[in-house]
């Protein structure tokens, strides 16, 4: 394997996408498949996995030390990125995308490369709907908000009954794990779990498949290397939707 030191990139633009989500554009394009991620080094703080929302951007919600430090950065500041890592979404034929919250970000490259036909987009409230305008330009968009301020009043999973799953070769999903598990349950009930493609989030330290911190039960699959995208039939009966591990390796409910 070749050297993979973090590549220095300068932040060239910071876009406020929603009140809680920002896109950080940087001065280097990373050749990646939709759904692949990079390890983002925030100097002096930490390094965290982030989905690429375009070849030269990450889209981030403030959730911890590293993301908080990113939110305090300015145009011109340097961060390090290594990657792209992971398998990404591999699609063929018609694609349904289902995204919730900041989980829409790894699905955006499917949209911008013309590989998503229909997109079910969910958020807590209208102002938190991520990338709605860009998705609407390239795909059929259906929206749900928890508080009913836009689109369907309720969960994005409730929009699935409005599409014909038989129309789609695969259903690509990313969002909070509870939401993704609800989608998997619907696909399983409809007998098409194997057409689901779920992008998992697990605690990662190395990103390259050696440390084991992101391994899942019961197969010992590495989210960083064998994933982060797994087909639904693999996830049935797994820890998915039930628990995940923290930095110490201890299990916690999701």
């Amino acid at each position: 394997m070749h050297e993979q030191m973090p590549a220095p990139v300068a932040i060239t633009e910071i876009v406020e996408e929603t009140p809680s989500i920002r896109t950080f554009v940087f001065d280097r394009e990373i050749a990646a498949r939709p759904g692949q991620f990079v390890m983002v080094w925030v100097p002096g703080v930490d390094e965290v996995p982030m989905a690429l929302s375009s070849p030269s951007s990450i889209t981030v919600q403030k959730v911890g030390d590293a993301t908080a430090a990113l939110f305090a950065m300015h145009e011109g500041d340097l961060i390090g990125v290594r990657g792209p890592y992971g398998n990404g979404f591999t699609v063929s034929g018609r694609t349904l995308a289902i995204g919730g919250g900041v989980g829409v970000s790894p699905l955006l490259p499917l949209v911008t490369t013309g590989q998503a036909d229909t997109f079910l987009l969910g958020a807590r409230t209208a102002s938190e709907l991520l990338f709605a305008d860009r998705i609407r330009e390239a795909a059929t968009l259906m929206v749900a908000t928890d508080d009913g301020t836009a689109g369907h009043h309720g969960f994005v999973t409730q929009l699935i009954s409005r599409v014909d799953l038989a129309d789609f070769a695969q259903i690509c999903v990313c969002g909070p794990e509870v939401m993704m598990a609800a989608v998997l349950a619907i696909l399983d009930r409809e007998g098409c779990a194997e057409r689901g493609r779920f992008s998992l989030h697990r605690y990662m330290k190395c990103g390259v498949g050696v440390c084991g911190s992101c391994c899942t039960d019961p197969h010992g699959l590495r989210v960083c290397r064998d994933g982060p995208v797994f087909s639904g039939d693999i996830l049935l009966g797994s820890e998915f939707g039930r628990y995940a591990r923290d930095a110490t390796g201890s299990r916690h409910r999701v």
């Binding site: 990103g207 390259v208 440390c211 010992g220 390796g249």
Partner: protein
């Protein structure tokens, strides 16, 4: 190349399916990942190092891939006693639990959690980047002897993993043997660091870490060779092994078995790939080649 006769072996009191073990710290966080490696052809597995209290490890970056290897500064993340749950599904399998502590008493405590629940223990007296643990203890022969004696007091097979970052590794190996070790393992990673020239700072969150992978294979050969001279207990070779010929070379230096870690970055099925080249029905008994380079 020499090939070996296939079959189970006993090394340092532990029965293995073959001579190839998964090294500590690699894919050893969960029972499921350990089971996956066993299923893919490893003769045994060594877990992530488990210590006296839960640890989150160092801030990232924790690992960088460099030419010829990997530099890591994970910082011994582990769930401590809760790890016993991960072993539940591995009962009867060739699993060695790597343990660490800051004092002989801590080693005794942690060893007690796993005595009887695993095939044996491997004492981490060699991690180069955890203050107060690992190599901080493993470079002092008297402390190595005491910590080994504390863990070995349960009567279970006790391997001691040594650091190459010392002037005389043979002296440390002899201390482990006096303390009751049933085998010594050499080597852990070599202290190393890289700096981002663009950011003008060390890359790893901990500033420095330990180098593993092909780059350190010659260091491992030298250390195993020295330990074979200094100790009468088996030596287990570790450090940069990625081919069957590497295994044979370390055995000729004196290793009775080997641990493989960084090579999984290129191929998670490296154990079956190496076994395919290493073993054959016309192969020799390993005893014929272990230490033969000392003649």
């Amino acid at each position: 190349m020499v090939t070996l006769y296939p079959g189970p072996v006993e090394v340092g009191g532990i029965r293995l399916r073959n001579h190839l073990l998964l090294a500590a710290g690699i894919l050893g966080t969960t029972g499921a990942s350990l089971a996956r490696i066993l299923a893919s052809g490893a003769g045994g597995v060594v877990t992530k190092s488990i210590g006296p209290s839960p640890k989150e490890g160092h801030p990232g970056p924790c690992l960088i891939v460099v030419d010829g290897g990997i530099i890591n500064a994970m910082g011994l993340p582990n769930p401590s006693a809760a790890f016993t749950e991960e072993l539940a599904a591995l009962q009867g399998e060739p699993v060695v639990v790597s343990i660490f502590g800051g004092t002989p008493e801590e080693f005794r405590t942690v060893a007690g959690w796993f005595a009887g629940r695993a095939s044996g223990l491997e004492l981490n007296l060699s991690c180069p980047h955890a203050e107060g643990y690992g190599a901080a203890i493993g470079s002092d022969p008297a402390l190595v002897e005491e910590c080994t004696r504390a863990a070995a007091s349960y009567g279970v097979p006790t391997w001691v993993k040594l650091t190459p970052n010392v002037a005389n590794i043979g002296e440390i190996g002899a201390a482990a043997e006096r303390g009751g070790a049933t085998a010594v393992v050499a080597v852990n990673t070599v202290k190393a660091m890289r700096i981002s020239t663009a950011l003008r700072r060390p890359v790893l969150g901990n500033r420095f870490g330990g180098l593993s992978g092909k780059a350190i294979f010659p260091v491992a050969v030298r250390c195993v060779y020295d330990l074979y001279e200094a100790c009468s207990i088996p030596v287990i070779g570790c450090g940069g092994i990625s081919t069957a010929d590497n295994v044979v070379e370390l055995m000729m230096a004196g290793a009775s078995a080997v641990e493989i870690g960084s090579a999984v970055i290129d191929d998670i099925d490296v154990f079956s790939a190496i076994a395919k080249d290493l073993y054959g029905p016309d192969g020799v008994d390993a005893q014929e080649i272990v230490g033969c380079a000392h003649a």
